[in-house]
Subunit: 242 residues, 4 copies
């Protein structure tokens, strides 16, 4: 009764804190926001960093009470818990604080990425990511097979386009690697338009790649989408082991 | 017999009037049309506005005759009807007239939006929107789960791209928010080409995001499309409570 | 035996002639080809035009021998056949000749379109188009319903974008009609990049439209694709009434 | 036992060698890499070329021991094996060496393509390509039918766009062939933006093509994707005849 309400309130608070932190990490890169609210943001980041650190320490401390881990004794149960993906994600969530405290004004890139990786903490509260991982693992052979076909088509069309367009646009198609970038933007139908064929032969090759690529990219996408739908419907959406 | 024909004629007339009004609201923003046919458009808009107002008043007036509402008495039945989404949509359809009458040459933005919102009145005559809502509600957990995954991927790729491209294109990748705009145009495969990676590392990150994003965006899309198809086939397409 | 072989040879020859004619109609618009091979192309076009005219006249002449038409008598059976879509397509295929003969150097646009419409003559030899029409007719209510939702979203996002971007880019977003063009390029994920939001608010609106639109456009596409697959698998691919 | 381990080690080594060769062929087109590591790359290419040649000769030599070929005698069994797609792919993998040895500094284009075609050698180790070929063959009628519809729509929209935009943008829409390039970029939703309609009528035609094309391109894609998923799930993923 009462303990369940407390647990739910706590988890709602933690979800809110994670979302707040991600929002703050994003907003902190906006120059106007940083100059105006820099101090407040820093304070909020530090505060929630402490909460995430305390959360990690507490979870690690009570790990020996978990039924499946209890039999390993006080030390091994905690070490085993620390090696669990959930615990590693919690540790990643607590790391930015340590970086900021002990390496001030350094390692900016790492701190920003680590802050955003706190998003992974939400995986604990949602079974969708686990469904996706199950779907990918279950269909790994079909995915690997169709990825190989797509890689081959990307490689071949990149090479053809490189050979056709290299002399006309030496800047855009400097090597086959640049051709691969073109092939990926084309086959995924993103089509930025920053690298396009200009010669007639290049346009013919490009048209064939577009028509073929559209069909090929659907092969793994269809497999993973239906496997995910099956997975997510078979789960009963109960958070099991938080 | 005869009453049914009258009801159908009236509903066809109202559908025609809604479509006419939407067309007029769109055309009125074309400068040439506004200068030439401005007066006629104004007259037609006012006229149909009155019809929508009368429709709303009449529907409200006869609300106490509806079998499921009758037992609430003359006042409460009408208040309950006024709170029904259908009645609110009808009220929104009648609002532009009131705005134009009492706030002339003001609140242009609101009036234009309200006029277009008359489109919602068509929902009364089609069960498709209700099917879509049922599909979304029925699959809300799967949609929320896959939306979370996509949000995470958008956030992470936006951050990576911001870190990689911020120094090369400080104008385009001013903050992670700009990176999120890039990530959304890329993952939905819209690919305008107004914000693209220019550095080699950025192109590699972009290629990975394209290949991953294409598969991820298919997860909720496949779920909602099949749920909608199921919903719409299970309905017998009879307008029930007009 | 022998007659069947003759019939198949004739139909293969006609398919070849149709494809040749379409190829010629396309090539004739290439300036270099027109100046060099203009006379030969004209000769080939006229020749195949005569064959299509003779084909139409012969088919019309023997129409009274068709079992389902025979009972209408010599005149009515031919008139009824002339009203059949297949006969109308054949007539369209024969029209360019008449235009060229009696209206030389005129009505260029109509002649080019009519020549390309000969493509429809291939529908006689393939049941795929009929499968598609059956699929569209069978799912017309679901398609109409989801088209209405998509129209509503296109209209609303066009209006919002017009209101947001009209002042910033009066050239690009001159009226809601221009906004509709933007909304269609965005929701279908074509994303040319010729009309894009530039203000921050416009980019937010655009991002929401992209994410929503991708899911909405899949609704009718999924319905029609699965209905088409069902139709085409249920047919036994036998040309029935040529 | 031991022989199986040896066979697996050899096939892993060959897969590694193929991937290495493809990587090197791609990297050799990067100017900086070619100038710095040119000699090493050349050495590696020649070395692996010899290994692929030896592999081809050995496979051909032992072809008369294959149970299904043994009964044809020493000569015919080898000739029959040489005509098998797998053997032809192996020969293609060995050809670049011969070209480089006997035609130095010539036929650059052919050598680059042949090197990349070594990718096909991987087909031996993955049943995915065979599943795709089976899926295409099994659904050839449905694919041909829907391809015909798409070709017709591409042709018709290319012609319409050519007629509408030719006078406004004579450079971009020089002939219907250029219109076909536009139509393919639009219908596959790639949408580079290098060729776009600028007139109002052109934008209307373009919008219709986008909305229609999106639905049409899904017809063959859906058929091939579900047939591929069926094929790949029915196979037991055992490499049968290596």
């Amino acid at each position: 009764g009462k303990r369940k309400v407390a647990a739910r309130t706590l988890s709602h608070f933690l979800i809110f804190l994670i979302l707040l932190n991600i929002g703050l990490a994003v907003l902190e890169t906006v120059p106007q926001v940083r100059t105006t609210f820099g101090h407040h943001l820093r304070f909020l980041q530090l505060g929630s960093g402490f909460i995430f650190l305390i959360e990690y320490i507490l979870r690690l401390y009570v790990a020996d009470l978990h039924p499946p881990l209890r039999r390993y004794g006080p030390l091994w149960s905690r070490l085993r818990y620390a090696a669990h993906p959930d615990a590693i994600i919690d540790l990643i969530g607590a790391l930015p604080l340590l970086f900021v405290l002990f390496l001030p004004n350094q390692a900016f890139t790492i701190v920003v990425i680590l802050r955003l990786l706190r998003f992974l903490k939400l995986a604990r509260y949602s079974p969708a990511l686990r469904s996706l991982i199950s779907a990918v693992v279950g269909e790994r052979k079909a995915l690997l097979g169709s990825s190989m076909i797509i890689s081959g088509v990307i490689l071949l069309s990149a090479t053809l386009m490189y050979l056709v367009e290299h002399d006309v646009q030496p800047e855009k198609f400097r090597s086959i690697l640049h051709g691969i970038y073109w092939a990926i933007t084309t086959i995924t139908t993103v089509g930025y338009g920053d690298v396009v064929p200009v010669s007639n032969l290049g346009k013919i090759v490009g048209s064939v790649v577009m028509l073929m690529g559209y069909g090929l990219i659907a092969l793994p996408v269809g497999i993973i989408a239906s496997a995910f739908a099956r997975e997510i419907h078979s789960r009963d959406f109960v958070v099991t082991w938080s």
